[in-house]
Symmetry: C2
Subunit: 418 residues, 2 copies
């Protein structure tokens, strides 16, 4: 507890903020935003800054086959399984200055604070920057953590191309060639614990006056596509009673889904984010509409019940227009490790910070790491909940508070025997 | 009445059908469809076929500045204002074999039937193929009839480009150069009457067992665009209660419009044909939605009342999402000429055909011609009401019945003194 306070005092709010601002200049876009997509020249330039700072702090730098970047501070027991933290450095094309990069800089700040305060952790501390979490250049996201955790082999992603037709395998080879000076390490590993710090990307912590979100898990997600096939017809000549209007059928289906997804507790997330009309001409009745359904909930039973009811609700509401609902993704809720969560809550208590348990609404690399190591996450507030947007903002002191909790919790985990 | 029956007997169902099928081979697309857009090579090739048939029948061929194609059969009074018929030869990109081209071939068939039966009409008979009625290559449609009727000067269309960037003025010049062998005539004129034969493009005649639609007018149209601006947000992290979801606002607005546009008489045509979502990502709350509203009714008072109520209904339903509704087009209902309508009804009666009065739901060149000459239209049934589609179909005998009514009505109008 004393060591935790010492480490927290050594976390340098200004140093961390200045580093984030220096990184935000690389790939800067108007409105304080950042466009620093995975395996691009700005991504490499940003990594070089981090590598320089890490080496100054005495960390060993290495890179693996997926271009995940590793910073390691040796512990008192060099052979012990390390405690791991980190996040990602790539951004959305119209991204902000904190999403992902904060978790990497926070891990680096913990390394610096350990050195500055003379504390040597029991276990080694590793900080990782996972490759391509966002998935905006190469879909899907979380490729680096998937390949590392063994969820999918790296080769699965080889032929995925970006908007310019560049293959992931070629972008990765170009990138690794530029980092050939770094020591190489194999994919995979069994860290003792993993803690990822991240901005909330939602409004709750700020709105409810908390410093820290103790992320107890990642809510479950089910993604569907509904295809409604009616008959296109002339808008001027076809009586409304004789139409099979796919857009009107989609409106009826969404009305039905809104009833099905009603949740007074406001925990269920139900989103129609994409809706495409064919032929999409102002004077033609819609012949076909495709729309997406994004359903998320922390409770697997609710997610199952509501999700399973979608197809019938859409079909009934769309009739006589024919409806097909396909499920494209189904990830059950993930619960993070109780022991790691306990270490985070304890650290927040010691530091007199206001914290709350909360699920994560978004995916994170921690979801993949959780399969191979006890894991959890720490959230810091996002101003107005804005994220994936240049206006994304968290104050320097809120970011430092998160880093202090992260450092204390990592230190606690590093002390434990195997 | 005897002459009308003689002319009707001379209308050759097979000749007319074979000509339509020969023309359908030019620009043929799968499923019996046609892609013969305005001022393209297939358009020119089809016109050459028509020109050849017209000359065989003794008609004089000419072309005007807008590339409207004219076929003239001299009457007993060569100096008299002619009776005019016709339609257009261009098709939609995924069009059928009858829309437009039927009215031109039917006019030509009347010329042939007059020659075959030895009847000389009092007034000259002219058949016109208007340029670019569809507006699918160069928007708006009806350019040829607009330029001829003086609704808009031809030069207004010069810089309008097609999807490949070709300017209308350049496409027109290319076309006219290919028809430089044809005698040229000026734009404009004062025909004694205009009758346009066309397929219904709706299901009513077939469904109700009529041979002929006596088109009493063209219903009025009002076109609007609604823009709803909410705020894009992360679908996983943003509580539903905190969203300003533009797509959900659009659904509420369409629900409200459906109530506003309810019409038990089923005469009102209300269509949302285009709806575009931004950013349109499955895991982002919609930040902006634009949708079109196409409202039509034969009664100007109803059209005015319902149309004027749209903006407020959308704004109220969309709140707290901001809504802007812009009116882009407002054409009041058009009533065709009573005298010409009488001639059509009389012709149908003489020929023992089942006819009904009906408004046209779609625009036609007749809408422009009506400004300078007493006008009306004749509809023949469309199988299942399908149009602007390769499956568009009308039987040879239905087409011939329409041509017989057209010929008889034209003959009646040609007999009248000035």
């Amino acid at each position: 507890m004393e060591q935790a306070r010492t480490l927290a005092a050594a976390v340098d709010e200004t140093r961390q903020w200045d580093r984030l601002m220096a990184l935000a200049k690389i790939g800067a876009i108007p409105g304080d935003g950042v466009n620093r997509q995975a395996l691009t020249a700005p991504d490499r330039e940003a990594r070089r800054l981090v590598i320089g700072w890490a080496r100054e702090a005495g960390a060993e730098v290495s890179v693996d086959d997926a271009a995940n970047l590793w910073l390691r501070l040796e512990g008192a027991e060099p052979g012990a399984a390390p405690v791991l933290t980190g996040s990602h450095m790539d951004s959305q094309p119209q991204g902000g200055r904190f999403d992902g990069i904060y978790g990497v800089v926070a891990g680096l700040e913990v390394i610096c604070a350990l050195r500055d305060s003379g504390i040597v952790p029991g276990r080694p501390l590793e900080v990782v920057a996972w490759t391509n979490e966002e998935g905006s250049r190469f879909a899907p996201g979380c490729m680096g953590s998937m390949a590392w955790a063994g969820t999918r082999p790296l080769g699965d992603f080889a032929d995925i191309a970006d908007a310019e037709g560049v293959r992931f395998a070629d972008a990765l080879a170009t990138h690794l060639a530029a980092e050939v000076d770094l020591p190489h390490r194999p994919l995979g590993g069994r860290p003792h614990a993993y803690i990822e710090a991240h901005i909330e990307q939602g409004p709750r912590l700020e709105a409810e006056g908390f410093d820290i979100g103790v992320v107890t898990g990642i809510q479950g997600s089910r993604w569907f596509t509904a295809t409604l096939t009616g008959a296109s017809a002339h808008a001027g000549t076809t009586p409304v009673s004789r139409r099979r209007d796919a857009l009107q059928a989609a409106v009826r289906a969404i009305n039905a889904l809104n009833l099905l997804m009603d949740d007074p507790a406001d925990r269920l997330r139900f989103t129609i984010g994409s809706l495409v009309v064919e032929p999409g001409s102002s004077n033609s009745v819609a012949g076909r509409v495709r729309f997406t359904i994004d359903l998320r909930h922390p409770d697997g039973a609710i997610l199952a019940a509501r999700g399973d009811a979608i197809a019938a609700a859409v079909a009934e509401a769309a009739a006589p227009v024919a409806a097909i609902v396909e499920e494209r993704f189904n990830a059950p809720p993930l619960a993070f490790d109780d022991g790691v969560l306990h270490s985070i809550r304890s650290a927040a208590n010691v530091l007199d910070l206001r914290w709350t348990d909360m699920p994560s609404g978004a995916f994170h690399d921690a979801q993949l790491v959780a399969a191979v190591a006890p894991s959890a996450m720490i959230f810091v507030p996002s101003h107005n909940g804005i994220s994936h947007n240049p206006a994304e903002f968290t104050t320097a002191s809120q970011l430092a508070a998160g880093t202090r909790v992260l450092g204390s919790a990592l230190l606690a985990r590093a002390r434990l025997p195997n």
